[in-house]
């Protein structure tokens, strides 16, 4: 079985429009639908939920995460 998502760039192109979990270095997690992102790993999310220590803290319709916040992982 061939995987379509080899390099980080290909992975990101495949994951746009899908539900993602974005973990920041600070420990805060954001769940939402990935609308787009750029080379700085700035990220735009829709239907965003903000999770801190496993608790839902906030909901945003649209959210922009600046890439300098040390985005750790997306899935």
């Amino acid at each position: 079985m061939q995987s379509q998502e080899r390099s980080p760039t290909e992975f990101l192109n495949n994951v746009i429009g899908r539900p993602v979990l974005v973990k920041l270095n600070s420990g805060v997690d954001y769940r939402g639908i990935l609308s787009c992102l750029d080379g700085y790993m700035n990220i735009a999310l829709e239907q965003t939920e903000e999770w801190v220590n496993g608790q839902l803290k906030n909901k945003y319709g649209d959210a922009f995460i600046r890439g300098n916040n040390g985005i750790k992982s997306i899935l």
Binding site: E5, S7, P8, E10, V15, K72, S73
Partner: protein, 88 residues
Amino acid sequence: MAMSATNQLLPLELIDKCIGSKIWVIMKSEREFTGTLLGFDDYVNMVLEDVTEYENTPEGRKTTKLDKILLNGNNITMLIPGGEGPEN
């Protein structure tokens, strides 16, 4: 004595050889990952599959299973090919 250029293995070549196999990633912070390496780029951002995340806290180690992740290369300190993780 210096090795000839053909015998040298550059760091990124070593990681390239790891594609498709298990790798253990240690971050700057108290965090580690193991998983199958699917690919990486010039920044050593990595795509990993069947991942276990280990968070080392004063209360103990917290593990999280993740299906498929993009890991930002900015905070990586060490990569261990074939690494079975901190538990063994």
